[in-house]
Symmetry: C2
Subunit: 562 residues, 2 copies
């Protein structure tokens, strides 16, 4: 059987746009003589649809889409299609939606395999919406038996994971059915998995190792077709692949772009080079691609073309500018310098140089006089008090208002430039530098910002050397350095990572990193005290296992025993 | 058996504070000769703990709390205690936390009844954290059999609900066990339910009707002990009660305050007057109490005493000021007037009068000159363009910056004054009037704002008559009225309610409300287009079935087919 892996980039809720893509990819697969074309999980409606699933009209449109896709399979020599969608459930008990892999053949819906394992952790809320399958069966496509699974259904192999989230292993159950198939169908085992599996550092490799191990254990060929593209915070990396019974990867779609690859079950290619993003250099390159795709899709799927951002001469805004230019084109990105009286001389000149290197327009709007005007108005309240947080925060808040005014006037989305170290510790100003539609590097620690910035300069100097080498500073008071308030980032970032991503205690971090428990506690306190800021932050592009946003749900008005 | 319903207000994560409350209420119950003291669901750690449950130390503290509470039951004449808590699960599969009702007697943990039905809709995420019970058993307390359930376990009665969320009815299962109890235990049936059941309009009545019906159906006495107090967006109204086998309410704790009420199973009081908030007048009074409690608990549990807010002379900010004064005391609330060149003459005078009526300090910080300074700085970009959204939004953004500066300087939390109609339609400025720590009336439609304001004036005029009667205006351009951009609120609010709370389609709303489908579509479009604003909004106090925030999860970068 000749199988086409149709790795498409659907937009949530864009039924007609997604259907158009499904048509196009089907015709391309027909031209390649495919017997079966496989689309990702929820390809009709995009993943994740979230509470749009509460709308009856949404489920109806999904149902209609499936009927239209079924029509594509009608006629001599037309391929079958396996496609993910939502469908209503008409039962008196339980959730009213199911997440299905629909097998379409000869113009009809031949089989609906409902998803059985519904992830409910981190960013996943599937049990909020979906009624799980209670059983799964092998089905016959073009005369060959196949095991159809939806994403998580293949993620509960007891031989691979030290701890299981679910008590059922749908793949194992399906493979048991293989043993009792009648002779003509009991040929080579084939597992099909349609996925919407979002990116984080190392995820593509986990996915391949896991499915590879599964294929080997069950002596099967496993085909995984993943969604590509970003929807809000989630970036889907694609990287669809075929793992053989030897556990190796034999066919591989590209990462971070739409792709169509063919695979013939009767003519297995030799092992291909597999993705490996454990290497730091490569991981940086993958993060780069993820952020570029995430930025492009967010801006475009929101219906915008242009972006605007503040350029401070610092490394964070410089990095975001380079990503934005790669995502949207230099003609669609505008930089604004907003120096205050506390800005260094390099602030404007470094930003200007960056803009020149990128070929984007750069304008300067000084905040000094607006700041002075604010200070005069606040004088009755502030007189006799020392210069402090209130005065510091006013400057980024003026900048935020200026950027939003320019955004309102020009129709360009504001990109936020804060990094994960800042968002974690609250070293950022709510309604100030946190202003924006998308926090492009909000899941990137400061130390990773440096690595990505060096990567941005891999071919030529785009980010000026000065920006890369000067000590980080918010420049909100004379001579200020980040290290006045925070430990050096080389010390801070591993503490944050251990606390936020691994839920380590202060004592565990102390032991692991050879830093004082008092220092660790002071960092944890910063994280806990700034939860209110993060809950009003722009959506953060997720590139780590635990990013700020929907995947991390903490109360604000709670007591923390650090 | 003499039962004490101990309706306490725990703070999430405050183990020592919650334990102190549990001790105090236990001693009060001892003085009242109670045989059994019942505390709400998750009383040790507060509800909802959210991702704090991912921390091992959190589960350990909950476990230690239960041991300490068990010690309270040791000794001659000491009562048993039924108390909610989380506990770790030590199993190789599934979630690692359980939500339990712990029965403590004679110094020991006698029984742990795990919650079976885990709500996962609206604001509830329980399947994200908890492993459900697989069985439930009657237990014996002080020689009497009781059926112990945790909140949702009692919410799946097929005789009461038209549609069931779950296929199991734990109460029905437990009642079957009663039939086969040995003679001395087969006495009067007693159902105990510990809850953390948040408030929305009409909820207290639903709770009583539902539990009443359950008690009657099973010929049992049902005791429901609910949490009181607010944690972030959720307000728990208390209103714990006892329903008799006649389905009537026989004992009732107060709403919105801590309370301890006693009930003797051998000496049932006559029917008490039950809560009824279907009456509009009463519903307004209940919403009022909910918002006061929600504001007080948010500010105090965040560790603050004082609040500051902008007073525009309009009805929204006036209402929030009155609520804040009732919640925090006049000495802890400060009003700031920030007129611009477009503000009406009444803007400052009405605000001043309100402040006088409330006895709170009121200061004026004009924004005109700051606005002029901004305009001059933006002149190179704005020259030749008409006055529009950018210019309008600048004014509330200046106000937001001023309020935040004063907040930073004085340590008072900023209260946001936007209502639900504005948040729904996006008729509000992100980083402008949306600035603040808590959206006090973000779940109150404008028409309800009027009802609450009249309620605020029930004893004397606090909100000036002018504020109540002038046409609503954002005052961001000359002569502006809300009705320039929006339908009248009497038309708008029912459309919003039908769309947001009932997921009605445009056609259904047209038919129901006798408005044109075009008008409905234009309103829906406003709702859909402003999702990005709501995702960066301050936490909203929930008083309706569907409020903005965690209970409503919509994508931003999605296509909406209106």
């Amino acid at each position: 059987m000749r199988i086409a892996l149709a790795q498409i980039n659907p937009t949530v809720g864009d039924f007609s746009g997604n259907l158009k893509k499904i048509r196009e990819f089907t015709e391309r697969a027909v031209a390649e003589h495919a017997d079966l074309v496989i689309f990702p999980e929820l390809a009709t409606c995009g993943y994740p649809p979230a509470d749009l699933l509460e709308k009856e009209s949404f489920l109806k449109r999904a149902e209609e889409s499936l009927t239209e896709i079924a029509a594509l399979t009608k006629g001599e020599g037309r391929p079958a299609i396996l496609c993910g969608s939502v469908l209503p459930v008409h039962r008196p008990t339980g959730k009213h939606v199911r997440n299905v892999a629909a097998l379409l053949e000869a113009g009809e819906i031949r089989c609906l395999q409902q998803k059985m394992l519904l992830p409910f952790y981190d960013v996943f809320d599937e049990q909020r919406y979906f009624e799980p399958a209670t059983q799964q069966s092998l089905v016959v496509v073009k005369g060959q038996a196949v095991a159809i699974t939806v994403c998580e259904d293949a993620w509960n192999d007891k031989m691979f994971w030290p701890r299981l989230n679910y008590s059922i292993d749908p793949v194992e159950e399906l493979m048991k059915q293989w043993a009792v198939l009648p002779q003509p169908l009991s040929g080579p085992r084939l597992i099909l998995n349609i996925s919407a599996s979002p990116y984080w550092h190392g995820k593509a490799e986990v996915r391949q190792r896991m499915i590879g191990a599964l294929a080997k254990r069950h002596n099967a060929t496993a085909v995984l077709v993943n969604q590509v593209g970003a929807n809000d915070s989630l970036i889907f990396d694609g990287n669809s692949f075929v793992a053989g019974p030897d556990g190796e990867i034999h066919t591989q779609a590209r990462g971070f772009v739409e792709d169509l690859v063919l695979f013939d079950t009767d003519n297995v290619p030799a092992k291909t080079v597999s993705v490996s993003d454990t290497n730091y250099e490569t991981q940086t390159a993958l993060t780069w691609q993820a952020l570029v795709l995430g930025t492009r899709d967010y801006v475009r799927k929101c219906g915008f073309q242009k972006a605007i951002l503040g350029l401070s001469g610092g490394i964070d805004s410089a990095l975001v500018a380079v990503i934005a230019v790669e995502a949207l084109g230099a003609e669609n990105v505008q930089g604004i310098g907003m120096p205050s009286e506390f800005s260094s001389s390099g602030s404007v000149s470094d930003a200007e140089k960056l803009a020149q290197n990128l070929g984007i327009p750069f304008s300067v709007v000084p905040v000094r006089e607006i700041y002075t005007r604010f200070s005069e108005s606040l004088q009755p309240f502030f007189a006799g008090t020392p210069f402090g947080l209130a005065e510091e925060n006013l400057q980024p808040r003026i900048r935020g208002s200026l950027l939003m005014a320019l955004s309102n006037k020009t129709g360009a989305l504001v990109l936020t430039t804060g990094n994960k170290s800042e968002m974690a510790t609250g070293y950022c100003t709510l309604y100030g530098d946190m202003v924006g539609a998308l926090a492009v590097i909000g899941d990137v620690y400061k130390t990773e910002v440096y690595a990505l910035s060096r990567y941005a300069n891999r071919e030529r100097e785009i980010i000026p050397e000065d920006t890369l080498t000067k000590p980080p500073s918010a420049e909100l008071r004379p001579g200020q350095k980040d290290t006045d308030s925070l430990p050096p980032y080389e010390v801070l970032d591993p503490i944050l990572k251990a606390y936020i991503e691994e839920y380590c205690s202060a004592e565990e971090i102390e032991a692991r990193q050879n830093v004082s428990v008092e220092l660790v506690r002071s960092v944890i306190q910063l994280v806990e005290r700034s939860e209110y800021k993060r809950q009003q932050a722009a959506p953060v592009l997720k590139v780590s296992k635990k990013s700020f946003g929907m995947g991390r749900r903490f109360p604000i008005a709670a007591k923390r025993e650090v």
